[in-house]
Structure formats: C-alpha cells, structure tokens
Subunit: 349 residues, 2 copies
C-alpha cells in the first residue's frame, strides 16, 4: 500500500486502501474524496509493520529513512514513537495529540467514533525535567475532561514505565486538641528533650507527639516549632534561656534542609487530623497515619516540594518504586499559598 509523504503527513490517495487502513485499526484521518491523512507516527508504525510503503518525491523511503526524516520534523519523535508503538501493541487505539499531551488513548476495543478517550498520555524521556507546576495544569485539565493522565517515561534503553497521577485530599481522625498540654523541653543537639515524665506523657497522649525514651520524650525540631506555636511547649536553649518560636525556626533552618517546606507541610497535615512522623527510613520527609500509630500502619509517605521544583524523573521513579515496595501511597506536597497533594503511581495500562 503506497502513501505519499508531504511535510508532516503521509497521504493515502487510493480510496479502497485508505478506507481499509482507517477501518482496520483506526489509523489516520479521513479526508474529502475518500483519501486518508496519516500522522508521521502512524505512518512510521505502519511502515515498520510492513503495511505501508512511503514515497517522498517519487522515491521510496525505508523505515530508517522515514524515522530519521520524522525526527527532524517533530520534536521528541523517537520518544513519541516508542510510546505510541507500545500502547498500540497493548491493543489500544491511540491518536497523536497536539498541546500539553502527546497521545490520547481509547478504551480497549473502542475508537474515536464510539468512545471518549480513557487516558491522556505525555511521552517523555527519563532525562526530561518535570515541572510540577506545568504538570498540575495537566492534571486538572485532564481531570476536568474526565480522563486519566499517564506519563510514559522512556529510559535510555527504550524501556517504558507508566505513571498515573491524581490530586489527593488526605484526611485523618486525630484532630489536634486545643492547647491542653504544657511542657518544658530542652534543646540538645538537633532535638528537644522533655525530661519531666508527666509532661512528656501528656504531649504523647494528646496526639502522639514525640517519641518516648523510657520516660524522656524526644521531640523533633519540627514538632517543637509546631508545639511552641500552639502554646503547649516552652523550649530552653543550652544556657537555660527560653526560645521563641522564631528562635527555634531559625535554628531549624540552620540544621535541616528545606525546613520551612517541611514545617508548613507538617502543620497542614496535622490540621487535616493526620499523625505525622519522620519518613527517614523511607527516604521521604514524612510518614503519615490516619489514626494512632499504635493501631495502624502509615498510609502515606509525603515529600514536600517547592512550587518551582523541577523534579527529575529518576527521582520520581525512585520514590514511587520505593513506596510501592512498602505498600504506602506516595504524595508530593506542593507548597505555595496552599498545599496541594499529588499522587504518583506506577501503572500498567
């Protein structure tokens, strides 16, 4: 079956073949006169499958030549092609898109003529930077349109991993009480110790603050800042002088990376009734419980990221795979005026 390459399209002008190509697999876009217009991605796929011969200025073009030509015309053609091919081979009808998304995918057995798309797909190289801001636009666009957003990430050997993303609204049952406890803590090294057993116990009982070390309660700097803010804790420095919340925050900033991001996320999660503990063992900022940590496992791992984060796929890949291994949901908390929670999940379409 012959097609003619012109700029960014291949035209099938034999009416019977045009109709067959369209009906068998939903390739291309029917034109007036019964012709069919194919995208370069579609055309390359059909050439590689030996279902199409492409001619350019009367000369036949092999797959390699067409691939090379298309790579010069279309940004990121190789990546789009790899994702397109993979999804077609999984039995989906796939249509190239222009704009924020690269491909739209119809439910198995369905096509543009009888269904709305199921997935909107961005095809990216693992080396592409992911701007969380741009991504959020895409999520809300995609959710508004009732579709699911997938990223198809192609690694350096051409292997594909899909990620599904969604906005989340986590909530828990441990709402912080009005400042009932009142404790005195001492700043030692990079943590705060409450040496009075009863005071420590009261804090722990209120909403599972700190960690008990045989009658001595250890609080993290984040917990300390939060509790000073609530009027439930007084912190003394090495010399026994009281520290204001401002003093402690500025000490925290010197001691810990991304302290403000963490603190804002901690406060927001606490206000949502969640119990928040360090995620150190999981390599994330926090692990988060919906109820008492004595009665349940942490449901979420939360990692705070600034508005302007340009996260890299390898980082996301690592974090997501990690949370998969431990059966927890990973949320990225994007901290601006508000805090938005984004879920990234490994996905098999």
């Amino acid at each position: 079956m012959p097609g003619e390459l012109e700029d960014c399209s291949v035209y099938i002008r034999d009416v019977r073949e045009a109709s067959q190509t369209y009906s068998k697999g939903n390739f291309g876009y029917p034109m007036s006169g019964g012709f069919l217009e194919l995208d370069l991605v579609e055309a390359a796929f059909l050439v590689q499958a030996n279902r199409l011969e492409v001619f350019h200025k009367k000369k036949r073009m092999g797959f390699a030549e067409l691939f090379d030509y298309a790579s010069g015309k279309v940004d990121n053609f190789d990546i789009k092609y790899i994702v397109f091919k993979d999804l077609r081979e999984r039995g989906f009808i796939v249509k190239p898109e222009s704009g924020s998304f690269d491909l739209r995918v119809y439910p198995r057995g369905m096509s543009p003529s009888n269904s709305a798309p199921l997935y909107m797909v961005c095809a990216v190289s693992e080396r592409a930077a992911l701007d969380i801001g741009e991504f959020l636009n895409e999520v809300s666009q995609s959710e508004d349109r009732g579709k699911q957003l997938l990223y198809g990430v192609v690694d350096e050997e051409g292997d594909l991993t899909y990620y599904k993303m969604a906005m989340m609204d986590p909530e828990g049952k441990v709402l912080p009480a009005e400042g009932t406890a009142k404790a005195v803590g001492k700043l030692v090294g990079d943590r705060i110790f409450v040496f009075d057993k009863d005071q420590g116990q009261a804090l722990h009982d209120e909403a599972f603050y700190g960690k008990d070390m045989q009658g001595v309660l250890q609080l993290s700097l984040i917990e300390g800042c939060y509790l000073i803010g609530k009027g439930e804790l007084e912190v003394l420095n090495r010399k026994g002088k009281g520290m204001s919340d401002k003093d402690l925050v500025s000490f925290g900033r010197k001691t810990q990376d991304e302290f403000d991001l963490r603190l804002r996320t901690y406060v927001d999660l606490r206000n949502r009734g969640l119990v928040v503990k360090t995620g150190f063992k999981y390599g994330t900022h926090f692990r988060v419980y919906e109820k008492s940590p004595d009665d349940c496992h942490a449901r979420y791992l939360v990692h705070a990221v600034p508005v302007s984060t340009v996260a890299m796929w390898p980082e996301i890949s690592r974090t997501v795979r990690l949370s998969g291994g431990v059966k927890k949901e990973i949320l990225f908390a994007r901290v601006s005026n508000e805090i938005e929670y984004l879920e990234f999940k490994w996905f098999k379409p």
Copy 2:
C-alpha cells in the same frame, strides 16, 4: 549506689559496689584501689536505669541534669547515648571508643575479658553528612581488624536504623569479545538507533548490548561511547556525518548528568564480565547481571559517586531501602583512579 562526677568521668569509690557494677554488665573501667571509672554514657545509662546516683560537688544530679551536663562535655552525646542504650538493651556489652568509631560491641554473652569486639559502630544523626572517603578508611580499618562496621543512624524522632558496610568485588561471566561486530548507528534525540537488523542482532548477541525494537536496535549513549571505543560501532549525527568517540562523549555530557562517572563505571563493570543495563526503574544508575539478562535477574544495583561525594544519610537510606524491596544488592561505585565498590545493607544487630 553513689558515684562522683568529675569532668568526663563518674567514679565509684565504694569497692564492693564498684566490683558489682563491673561484674554485672561490664560497666566501667577498674582502677587501682578497687575503684571504678565510668564513662558519661555509661553513667547516664545507669542513672536512667536507677542503678546509680551521681553527685557533682556534693549535690545530687538527676538524669536530665546529667544528660544536659554530658551534652555540653561530649560532642554528639545525645546520639551516642541513644545508640549505646539501644545496643545494651539488645543484650550486648558495649564500650565507648575514641577515634573513628564511637562504640565497640562484643558478641552476645561475651565481654572484653573473653572476646574481641564483633562490631565497630559509628553513631550518627540522620542529618550528619557521610563523607564516602572517610567512610572507606573506616571500612578498611574495621576489616583489617576483623570486625564488622555498623552505622547506627538516629532519625529526628530518635528511631534507630543500622547499616552494615563492606567492600565488594563484583564479577560476571559475560566477558566482552574482541571487536567482532561492526555496526552503523544514527544518533536521534538522546539515543542511537541501529536500523540494520543483522548489525543490530550481532551487537545484541555479542554481549547483550542495546534493546531490540522489532529489528531496530536502540543503544544508550553510554553503550554507544563504549562500542565506539571498542571499534564496533560507527555513529552518524543528524546530518549523516561520522562522530568520533570524543564527539559522542561531549554530546553525552551535555545530555546527561554525571556522564563521565557513569561511563567509567560502565566500562569497569563490563570489563568485570558483567552485563550492564540502565537502573532507571530502580532510581539508580545501573542494574547489573552476572549472566545473560534472559537467564537471570539483575543481582546488583550500582550507583556511581565521585570521590568527593558527601552523601547524606536520607539518600543512602532511600537507596538501601529501595534495593531491599527488590531483593537486589546495592553497590556504590566510588570513582577515582580506580573504582571501588561499597555495599550498604540494612542490618539488625
């Protein structure tokens, strides 16, 4: 039982109590006259366990006061105390050390009088930077002395995680052949395509280079550089002009972080007979096979780090936990004149 605090030691001068404290738990260091000298860590532990009363200038000191005093005398006292206490409570005799290590630990049921130490332990806060260079010294010191090196890492809530480390010497069975294959590839985007089916097949058969996409072989930039160097590949740029290995390396550097580190590690691993593929899905640089990837799972995940790396514990924690979840061994390849492989393992003493 009373003890007297002087500077950095607590002295038990009642001979009977001194002898009992030493024989029941191996605390302290016997002195002439039957007295016993205790470390601050040991003394604090005994005070918290209600086995010791400490007096300073005739005044009794509670646990909080002693802890506070010790924190002013000893760097990192709180961290050392937490690790010391945890190991004692696991049933080990633990002795404070000075120098590169913080604690030495004897086999369960054994003590300094009848055994050599089993573990040498560094007690660190999760926020401490780990200098890989310094660490390597410690590993070789510790291995020379026939002991195992543990890091006890205390997170911000006082939870402890132990890591065991060792030097490794990975080897595989797929030694690269003398340049038998000869292929032509085209650089497209950030990868190289070998469009000739037979040429691609030959490369793949030789030592599992690249990834087949239905007759088209995709090579990563790293593989491309390696194969040009071996004289088995010619790479053409977008304009069809041949690229030297220098051209391709400089393109790689522009496209990919830490390209030289990766390439040097790739070549070293290949020379060790290992099959090396991207570790993207695992969030590391490489996954590494001892035999054909068709016949076995990857045994190692390898992450290349520069000589001067000051790795942070959360990063290590994440990577190690990750590799535990997928049952692979994680190696850090430290690239200097030679490449040294370090294993980090989660450990329960």
